[in-house]
């Protein structure tokens, strides 16, 4: 009539053993966090942010006595791969093209140029020929299709410490933005209103200064295009974990990383 006690006792004993086993395993299990592990993430180092500009203006360079340390070197240089210095045949440092303008900026023009009218040499196809003494100091790259490679479009032929616009107006080097404006009017208008070029400091000028940049702080007048920059690290791809141990996922086994290679440009 009553249920067979053997089966009941058997089940009870089994359950008690099960509960004890579970309890013991809970209390004494090794402490391994069941968390998604992504070993690359832990090595992520945030580069120190810098408000340095890509270029250093002639004024800044001269004022600092040739110290270019405020430049944002790592915009173009890989922090982990320091650049090597090239030496010429005579053992002197060969300035890379990208830095040539630094040397040019420090130069004293009248050391080579006596106060007389300078001439431009033209090649057979009409291109301006860079004089040999300047050839390793700068590569002209102003304007598409070499439209603006004539030195005296901007420099005064007779006075080397002066700039000149197309209509003959003379400007000092400090007034260089006005020279840029003489061709790049809309950009200059934007720059005057703060719409072009970076402003640092305070947007609320009642509380502090707003620091604006001149054209030369970002644009090399001889090759104004912004140089290529090395991009910093983006968001790490998310590994799809799930139903596998953290260790296996860390080894990279299993489902591939999402968001990996860039998608092809299809339209």
């Amino acid at each position: 009539m009553s249920p067979p006690p053997d089966k009941s006792n058997f089940v009870m004993t089994g359950l008690i053993v099960l509960f004890l086993a579970l309890g013991v395993s809970f209390v004494f299990s090794p402490d391994r966090a069941p968390v998604r592990q992504d070993p690359e993430l832990s090595k992520l180092v945030t580069p120190a942010p810098t408000t340095a500009t890509l270029r250093i203006t002639a004024t800044q360079l001269k004022a600092s006595g040739g110290d270019a340390s405020i430049l944002d070197c790592y915009a173009c240089h890989d922090e982990k791969k320091p650049p090597t210095v090239k030496l010429g045949a005579d053992g002197s440092i060969v300035f890379p093209k990208e830095h040539a303008d630094l040397r040019l900026m420090m130069a004293n023009c009248s050391a080579c140029h006596v106060d007389k009218k300078l001439e431009v040499e033209y090649a057979k196809n009409g291109d301006v020929v860079m004089p040999k003494a300047h050839a390793d100091l700068l590569a002209m790259g102003h304007g598409r299709n070499n439209r603006n490679t004539n030195c005296f479009n901007c420099h005064s032929q007779s006075k080397l410490d002066e700039l000149v616009t197309r209509d003959g107006t003379k400007l000092t080097f400090a007034q260089a933005p006005l020279l840029c404006a003489s061709c790049h009017g809309p950009t200059y208008r934007d720059w005057e209103l703060g719409m072009h070029g970076r402003t640092n400091g305070y947007w609320d000028t009642s509380k502090g200064k707003a620091v604006r940049q001149d054209c030369n702080a970002c644009h090399d007048p001889h090759g104004p295009a912004i140089p290529q920059i090395i991009p910093l690290a983006g968001p790490k791809p998310v590994l799809t974990h799930g139903l596998r141990s953290a260790a296996t996922a860390a080894e990279g086994g299993g489902p591939k990383a999402e968001g990996g290679p860039p998608k092809a440009a299809s339209q």
Partner: protein, 311 residues
């Protein structure tokens, strides 16, 4: 099937089965209690003050003061740096607007990392408020975009780069859905989060059309030497696991009149920020004169983040 049994034997059967059942039940309860064993590693229990802390809007100045001191103490204990945690109030007559020049952005991601450094974001797991999407020219279809680009140098030909962060919308879907009002729009336009009030339900993350919000799936880690000690309660105080965070227009900077960190490091000057209520600010000029647009306008969020092309 009614059987008449003498009361004693009836009771004894039920008593036996009761004892049997309760032994097993006790073992079961013990197993359940043992199941809680991992909680031993919970470490510092949440302080009573932190547990009972009221919502930001309910805190009186003296309560807020206590909270700020408590946070300063916690940060000092955790990172060995004594920070300055302040509660910056919005300025009158100010509404912030951000404008981003897509012609000038070269995709260098300096903004992303300046933000990480300024706002004490977790390095592991890595949280980044700003995501720069590399888009092929000629389309705004996000599916064709790629946030994980890693070429040798940028910009790449045929692409433009579009940074996306919280747009501080005028009609935000995220504040609508928060069940505890842990996120709301401040008078100066910034959508803020009270990290000490958020319950971590992630409804706001589901609601955001711009993937602007980030959740702390585990306790954030920040290297001690990279802590930014100038903190604000609604801004860059270090967060803890289980709460949401997002871009807040560098509230600790902008509310004292400074530019946000992302703007200050941009090498090409693509980022513009200011008070739209000031007709002479650069953002006011941009919105008047440039052809600005917003992302996903049809969703009706009315973002305060505008994109435009120069040329």
């Amino acid at each position: 099937m009614i059987a008449n049994r003498p009361p004693e034997s009836r009771d004894s059967i039920s008593r036996r089965s009761f004892l049997r059942g309760s032994t097993a039940a006790a073992a079961g309860v013990a197993a359940m209690a043992a199941g809680l064993a991992p909680l031993r590693k919970l470490g510092e229990a949440i302080s009573v003050d932190e547990f009972l802390q009221q919502h930001y809007k309910e805190l009186k100045p003296e309560d807020m003061d206590k909270v700020l001191r408590r946070i300063e103490g916690e940060v000092e204990r955790q990172y060995g740096v004594r920070p300055h945690v302040r509660d910056y109030k919005p300025m009158n007559g100010v509404e912030y607007v951000y404008a981003l020049n897509l012609t000038r952005c070269v995709g260098c991601r300096k903004c992303v990392h300046a933000c990480v450094a300024e706002n004490n974001q977790s390095r592991d797991p890595a949280i980044q408020y700003i995501q720069v999407i590399k888009m092929p020219n000629g389309t705004f279809d996000m599916e064709k975009g790629d946030a994980h680009y890693a070429p040798e140098s940028v910009p790449e030909k045929g692409f433009f780069y579009m940074p996306v962060q919280c747009h501080q919308c005028k009609n935000p879907p995220c504040t609508k859905v928060c069940p505890v009002k842990a996120t709301w729009t401040e008078p100066d336009g910034i959508t803020v989060i009270d990290y000490n009030w958020c319950i971590g339900c992630r409804y706001c993350e589901a609601a955001c059309p711009y993937f602007a919000r980030r959740f702390n799936f585990s306790e954030p880690t920040i290297p001690k030497d990279q802590i930014n000690p100038e903190m604000s309660y609604l801004g860059n105080q270090p967060r803890h696991k289980g709460v949401m965070e997002k871009c807040h227009f560098c509230i600790q900077r902008t509310r004292v009149g400074r530019y946000p960190a992302c703007l200050e490091v941009c090498p090409t000057g693509s980022r513009k920020f200011g008070n739209i209520l000031d007709p002479n600010s650069e953002v006011a000029h941009i919105l008047r004169e440039k052809r600005v647009f917003v992302l996903k306008e049809e969703v009706g969020t009315l973002p305060r983040f505008f994109y435009y092309f120069d040329v």
